[in-house]
Every structure is written in C-alpha cells, then in structure tokens.
C-alpha cells in the first residue's frame, strides 16, 4: 500500500532542534552511552544540532536549547543553582541514568554521616564542599522524561530521542525485568538456582541483561511501576540471603529511590530530604 505524505519530509538544518548534554555528579557512563551509539550517532547528528556536549566537543553554542539530556545528581550548592539555569534554558529536559533519576550510588550518603566519609577519604576534608545528600534532578526542577539505568540502555536512549523527534510517547515499559526475562526465554535464576534477583521489583529496560548471563538482577533500572519489595525481600531472606546482603542489594544503584529506600529496615533520615521526590514521569 502506498499513500502520499502530507508533510515535507526534508528538514532544513536551521530548523533542527538543538541538543545539550549536561553533567552533574556522575561517572559519565550515561553520556558515553550516547557516544557509544556509533552507527546511529551520525543519524542523531543529522536530526539534532548538538549545541552543547563537552564530552564530545569543546565547541558550544549558547542556549536556549530545544532538548537537554541531564546526567548526574545534585550534590553541591553550585549544582543546585546550575540545574535551575539548565531548566530555564531547556524546552524539554530529559534526565538520564540512576544518578539523575534517583540520586545514584552517591545517594548512599543520604543514610550516613557525610563528614565521617570526608574524614576517612580525604587528607584535607576542609577542601571539600558538598551537600549532605545526593538527590535526583526531579527533586529540584520539573523533568519532562526520566530514562532509567546504571548506565542507561543504548537502544532505550535512541528510542527516547526517536520518539522526541516525531512527537510520540517512547516505548519504555514500567513493568518488571521479569517480563523481559521471559520474553528472552531465560529460566528464572531465582526459582531454578536460588540466585537472589531483584528483577521482580525492578523496571524493565536492560533486556534482562544479568539474568541472561545467569546472574541475578542488581536493580540498576530502579523500582518498577508498582513493586512489592517487602514481599521480594522476605522471599530472598527465606532463600538464605543474609540481611546485610539484602540491604546491599536494594541499596546500591537506586538506594534513594522511594520503594527501594524503605525495602529493608534502615533508619531513614527524612529531615535530610530537601524536597519531595516527584513521581517518575513515565
């Protein structure tokens, strides 16, 4: 069947949306995922004007930007101010990765004493200026879309960019990793081998990468849409996982994400939370 397209399919360069990529407290892994898109990178550059991306090029174009990808969490006073500016300069703001969407591994400080860490790690703690917490971007500014993962999945990133370009909703299901695991045809490592797996509580998106290699899911994509971490935790304990390991499992990449935070009994210093965490916008 052939029909005629009512739109003009050729996009003149001047009307291409501009893209900026920002880094906050993070390891750069999610930005690297964009650079890792090798084959598709040119196609991305064809559709978007890469106006600001220090990881790829030192050339930069002043804002405003049509779309910003934001990596990293807020851990300093400077960044707390800078994210406001980024938001003001961005028509669409997409956060990428566990740091930006949940505070990342560095959010482990949220339940500990930061000055203690400073004392142990740094020779001269007085040189370090940091907040007591690591918080997701959505705690500070409104976010248009959150892309999960530690790091994010390359295909999902391309899907989000592709969806943005044509103005449709991205296919990033909020259901569990188990659904992807079964689509892949993996046997369940939890049921068949007793291997602790966070898949039932974790949002899909990785293609069930770890269970495909007979490893349990580490929960790097954060909580699924309606997880039941208490029931999963009880089952893992029953299967012989020591309580401290259960805590470590839930409290690694997305320790500060709401349903994982309370999954195991740890004191939650609510007084340290600067603002209420917004619902995942997916």
């Amino acid at each position: 069947m052939t029909v005629t397209d009512p739109r003009n399919p050729t996009v003149p360069p001047s009307s291409r949306p501009s893209l900026a990529v920002w880094k906050f407290a993070s390891c750069d892994g999610c930005q690297l995922t964009l650079l890792d898109c090798e084959d598709e990178l040119l196609a991305v550059a064809d559709q978007l004007d890469v106006a600001f991306f220090l990881e790829a090029s030192s050339a930069s174009v002043a804002g405003p930007y049509d779309v910003s990808l934001v990596e990293g969490s807020i851990t300093t006073e400077e960044d707390r101010a800078r994210i406001q500016e980024v938001r003001a300069q961005s028509k669409t703001l997409i956060t990428i990765g566990a740091c930006a969407t949940a505070g990342g591994i560095q959010a482990l400080r949220n339940t500990s004493d930061v000055s203690e860490f400073l004392r142990i790690v740094y020779a001269t703690p007085s040189y370090i200026s940091t907040l007591e917490t690591s918080t997701p971007i959505a705690d500070h500014v409104s976010v248009d879309f959150e892309l999960r993962g530690c790091p994010i999945d390359r295909q999902q990133l391309l899907e989000v960019i592709g969806a943005y370009l044509v103005g449709r909703t991205p296919n990033t299901p909020g259901h569990s990793v188990c659904v992807e695991c079964k689509q892949q045809g993996n046997p369940c490592v939890l049921v068949a081998h007793g291997t602790p797996c966070l898949g039932p509580a974790t949002q899909a998106g990785c293609g069930a990468l770890c269970p495909s290699y007979l490893r349990g899911c580490y929960g790097c994509f954060g909580p699924a849409e309606t997880p039941n971490p208490h029931s999963l935790g009880a089952t893992l304990l029953e299967a012989g996982l020591p309580p401290d390991e259960l805590q470590r499992l839930f409290h690694t990449y997305n320790a500060w994400a709401e349903p994982f935070r309370g999954a195991v009994q740890v004191p939650t210093p609510t007084h340290r939370r600067p603002a209420t965490q917004q619902e995942n916008t997916r």
Binding site: P9, Q183, S231
Partner: protein, 379 residues
C-alpha cells in the same frame, strides 16, 4: 486415524526407534523442537537425535522452586512440564506486524508475514497439547484469525509424550487434560517405565503419523504392552495430589471484595511471571518504533502481561491500579470468564504459574480459600 491396513496404528520401539523417528522428521525437512537440558532446567530447543533429550533427568517443582535432578535411570521422559511451553514458537514474544517506509512524498506500508516453516514438536506433554488447542480456539477463530499464528501453526508435526512422573505442581488430571494425550497429535509416545529393555509404545493419531510409524524399527504392541502403558498412566494419576475443583472458581468470582485478594496482593510481586510462563496466556501489546530520520516505522506485537499498569492504560490512566485487582483479573479471567468467552477453562493444570512464581503463589491453594469464603458469606 490411519485408515490404511499397511500402516500400523501402534508400535513398540526402543531408543533406536525414537532416534529413527527424530531422523525421519528431519529427513522431511522439519526443524525438530523437543525437550533438552539448558541452563539448569529442562526447556525446549532444537534436537537432532535422542542424545539431545534429557536422558536420566527429572526435576523437582514446588511453589517458587525448580531443581533439576538425576534419575539414575536412562528414562527419557521422567520429567514433567518443561520450563517453557510451546507458546514461544506459535506465538513468539515479538512479531513484526507492519512496516512503513517513506521515500520523498510516498509512504509504503507492508504487512510482513512469517514464511511457513515445517517443524515438529517432539515430546509434547498432554497439558501443553490441551493448551495448543486453547490457543487454536482463540487465535484461529474464523472471525478474528491471527494471521501470524495461522502461518506458524499450519505445518507442525506433533509427537506427544505421556507423563509418567508428574511434578508436585501438576494438576492436569483434575483439569481433564492429562497425563496421557488422547487427541491432537500425529504420534504419541508412552515410555514403558520399568520395561527391559526400556521400550516405548507409539500410537498414531493421524494418517501422516501412521506413515512415519511404518518407517520405524520396532515390533507390534501386545496386550501386555498396552496394560503396561495403562499402569504407567494410572500411577501418574495416583501421584498427582494437586486438584482444582471446577465448582470453586465461580464461587471465588462471587467474592470480588473478599480480603483474601488483599492477602494475595501482599505477597504478589506483580512481576508477570505467571502470565509469561502460562501456555495459554496470549496477551500482547503493540509497539510502534520509528527510525531517527522518521522514514521507517515498525509496528511490533510484544508479549504483555495483565500484571502491568499499562495493560489497562486508557485516557485518564490505568484502571487496575492495585495489585489485588490485577491478580483477581488474571485468575478470574483464566478460570471463569474464559469459559464465557471461549467455552473452556483457560487453565490446563500445567502448574507452571505455581513453580515459576518467585513467591510461590498457588492458584490451587487460593481458589478454595476464596470459594469457601464466598459460600460462608452467602450461604
């Protein structure tokens, strides 16, 4: 049934006969899919001879637990339900439905279909055979035929295999779907457990099955062989302790607000494993993906689960927000409204949803509780 007098309806073979059967199906250019051990479970995959089959393996299944175990015998069919059903082959997890391409002002739309591929399913359990029958009823409905399914289902040579060793999670006898296949196959194998040498009674269910049977090395079955097969069947039935009383599901449906649903929801992870492993759960969603330049669009059908929020996402949001409402929907559709829709239960008693539920939720344990509650509330 085979009508020709030259082709036998039953045959007794040994291992070499089964090997010859796989060889003959492959000689017919069929891809033979059968049970095999992979990643610590018995699942399905391509088999090229009997050495690929789970010889000497069985498994222990219970709510939330599966463990592969050696039998110490050379029985081939001493296991029960493989971890996966045949759903993956007839109704694959991803299927391309539509492909659109834009070139200049023209948009071309294609609806690709899979190529018909001759396959053989080897060692199909009776419950899984019943499940294929259910999928046929749903997906080959003349008024709404799934064209993908129709192609994939069009040329499958089915070799069924009766169960001698049901798992603790099996309840096919109570669902009247097993443990011995009665119809829907080209050939059906019964392993004569304990026979010396270990032999197999093969029965033909179709003319083409009888033709293949005529090519295998073996001898004709005696009355004693048939008695042996019946004894294995009876032992399998006696070994099955799980049941589901057909009168109970409607009673459970009459108690939609019972607190037991919330008790289940406290344990249920909403992970969707039960629906993924169920041989009759056919639900899928449709995904549109576009290339970055917007010139290519693929529409793909993807396995979905009623345990996800998106499953009921409509204007204004999802309608089944609580886990309790999603579990209730799944169970009552499977066991009750399926009857109204498709004239049968949606459950064949394979027990997979019990084994592969990470928290071991067991429908055969929940249904009587819900049913009992209903009768107590409304005597």
């Amino acid at each position: 049934m085979g009508g020709s007098t030259l082709t036998p309806a039953t045959l007794i073979v040994e291992r070499d006969g089964l090997d010859a059967l796989i060889g003959e199906l492959r000689a017919q250019h069929r891809t033979v899919l059968g049970p095999l051990v992979r990643d610590g479970v018995i699942t399905h995959g391509e088999v090229t001879g009997i050495d690929d089959l789970p010889i000497g393996w069985t498994e222990q299944q219970s709510g939330g637990t599966y463990r592969l175990q050696p039998t110490g015998t050379d029985e081939i069919f001493a296991f029960s339900t493989p971890s996966e059903s045949w759903k993956r082959y007839v109704h694959p997890p991803r299927a391309l439905m539509l492909r659109a391409r834009r070139e200049g002002p023209a948009i071309t739309v294609e609806t690709p279909r899979p190529e018909p591929e001759p396959v053989a399913f080897f060692g199909v359990r009776s419950c899984d055979l019943a499940a294929l029958g259910i999928l046929d009823r749903v997906l080959l409905d003349p008024e709404a035929t799934d064209p993908n399914y129709a192609v994939r289902r069009s040329d499958i040579f089915i070799v069924a295999a009766g169960c001698s060793t049901p798992a603790a999670t099996c309840f096919c006898a109570s669902m009247q779907t097993g443990p011995s296949p009665t119809s829907g196959f080209d050939l059906s194998i019964a392993e004569l457990k304990g026979s010396e040498p270990l032999s197999y009674l093969i029965a033909a269910g179709t003319e083409r099955g009888a033709e293949v049977l005529g090519l295998l090395p073996g001898r004709s079955a005696t009355a004693a062989d048939h008695e042996h097969a019946t004894a294995v069947h009876d032992q399998a039935v006696a070994a099955m302790h799980r049941t589901l009383d057909a009168a109970d599901p409607p009673r459970a449906a009459a108690a939609p607000e019972h607190p037991q649903w919330n008790d289940i929801a406290e344990r249920c992870l909403a992970c969707g494993n039960c629906t993924m492993v169920c041989p009759t759960c056919f639900c899928s969603s449709v995904e549109d993906t576009t290339s970055l330049d917007g010139n290519h669009t693929d529409r793909t059908r993807v396995w979905d689960s009623c345990f996800g929020l998106d499953f009921t996402h409509m204007h204004g949001g999802p309608t089944r927000t609580s886990i309790a409402s999603r579990y209730r929907h799944w169970l009552l559709h499977k066991l009750v409204t399926w009857q109204d829709q498709f004239d049968s239960s949606g459950c064949v008693g394979c027990g997979r949803c019990i084994t592969w539920c990470p928290v071991g939720i067991d429908l055969t344990a929940e249904i009587p509780k819900l049913a009992r509650a209903a009768t107590e509330v409304a005597p």
